[in-house]
Amino acid sequence: MKRTIKLRINGSEHELAVPANALLLDVLRNDLHLVGTKRGCDMGTCGCCNIIIDGRAVNSCLVLAFDVEGRDIQTIEGVTASADDDSIHPLQEAWAECGGSQCGFCAAGFIMTVHALLENEPQPNRAGIAEALGGNVCRCTGYKKILDAVELAAGRMAATT
């Protein structure tokens, strides 16, 4: 049986009806068509579905939608350089420049994890970035290009603030 739920995603309020056992990942993708968030392992071990809830990167495949009513949810669709338009974020720009994404399936999860990291720690060192990305799996790049991209973006973001 479906119940009404109110979710705040990327600053917008959404009201819809979903069953009690609905996972946030399913609500994002199937009900709200925010398909930038990917379903990988579905068991919390790959990080493809990572989003940010109240400033923390979490696996949306292990979050019940009804548990996060009233919380601040951010998905890859809400990651832009400026709140006024949909210009791409320095992280996404650096990802493209460094080849941080090859098949691209894991990229949104990585970017969300790093986005949360840089909010708390704008200039992490390479070991700190690697540690923060301990819950994200990429089968293409070998991670070097991803770490390069994060360093490049963090440097640029620090220079402009």
Partner: protein, 322 residues
């Protein structure tokens, strides 16, 4: 993966939660408490003992404080890992918290959930399809253990990281349920096999972890073995707490995880009065390996895991002597 159907309850106070638990118990309805969901939901997805009701702790107020004496059961593992007060007094607990699973899962998982972590086994943590093909085990849907074939004891392995450190610190847990509140030493909390796991009634909620002030004299450390440095569960882990009296061992506490169905505190392993030297570290290594038993139901061979508990104990002893 679609979760099985269940009714979801969202109490906002402990009183409300206890009422829901009491009503469901009276109706004969099974339920699980769920905090972070990082253990419950993967099991539910695999159809491992799902219940018709889930009582979520997501909207419960409080129970998330982190202090030197008391930690609320809903405190996030990531917050433990970053706690300056814990880092000052119990660095071993912070080390263990920092090593739990992966960063995003530490942002969801709680200390209470980590202590109550379900046991793991090759024959249990599998999809419904896999388990049906192999034949069900006694922990879910079957009646025989597939690790050590018999029907009495479940040999699934406990793999929480925080329990061994809290065991050496002699922590106590507070449980609240329809019959009131009680406090139990963690050393008496874990019991029996991979199905029973601990002496907690199904309607009891773990609300807090208390660490006695007498444990502040101890230096603590934690080491563990796992397939990768992140995400994976420990398949052997050792926590040590040491207080030296001059150049002798004043007090030494040892506990392990990732070996048997429950985390184990070795109270009989007494090296009080022994010199704090590498020779004693080796004696500790030998004594621990003698006591540890591992089963072939998680990654790495039992003999290797057993040997590694000894190695870690020796390393930790030397590191804590400093």
């Amino acid at each position: 993966m679609i979760l099985p159907t269940f009714e979801l309850h969202h109490p906002t106070t402990i009183t409300e939660l206890v009422e829901i638990a009491r009503d469901l118990t009276a109706q004969g309805e099974a339920f699980d408490y769920m905090a972070g969901g990082t253990d419950v939901l993967p099991n539910y997805k695999n159809r491992l003992n799902p219940r018709p009701h889930v009582i979520s702790l997501a909207r419960l107020a409080g129970l998330d404080e982190i202090g030197v004496d008391r930690i609320g059961a809903r405190a996030l593992v990531d917050d433990l890992a970053r706690s300056s007060v814990l880092s000052e007094h119990y660095p071993g607990l912070v080390e263990a918290a920092r090593s739990v699973s992966s960063p995003p899962l530490r942002n969801l998982g709680t200390i209470g959930g980590n202590l109550l972590l379900d046991t793991r086994c090759w024959y249990f943590n599998q999809s419904e399809f896999w388990r049906e093909s192999k034949g069900y085990c006694m922990k879910a849907d079957g009646d025989v253990c597939l690790v050590v074939p018999q029907k009495e004891i479940c040999y699934a392995t406990y793999s929480g990281d925080l329990a061994p450190v809290l065991l050496v610190l002699d922590a106590r847990v507070t449980l609240v349920g329809p019959d009131g509140e009680r406090t139990v030493p963690l050393r008496e909390f874990y019991a029996f096999d991979g199905i029973t796991r601990f002496l907690k009634g199904p309607a009891e909620l773990l609300t807090a972890v208390d660490i006695p002030s007498s444990s502040r004299e101890l230096r603590t450390g934690y080491r563990k073995l796992r397939m990768r440095d992140t995400i994976e569960y420990p398949v052997a882990g050792v926590a040590l707490a040491l207080h030296t009296d001059g150049d002798k061992v004043g007090r030494l506490e040892v506990a392990v995880t990732g070996t048997e169905a429950i985390p184990l505190w070795y109270g009989d392993l007494d090296l009080t009065g022994q010199p704090a030297t590498p020779a004693t570290a080796e004696a500790l290594q030998e004594a621990l390996v003698d006591r540890v038993t591992c089963y072939r139901n998680v990654p790495f061979p039992p003999g290797y895991r057993k040997a590694m508990t000894g190695e870690y104990a020796r390393e930790l002893f030397s590191a804590l002597v400093g």
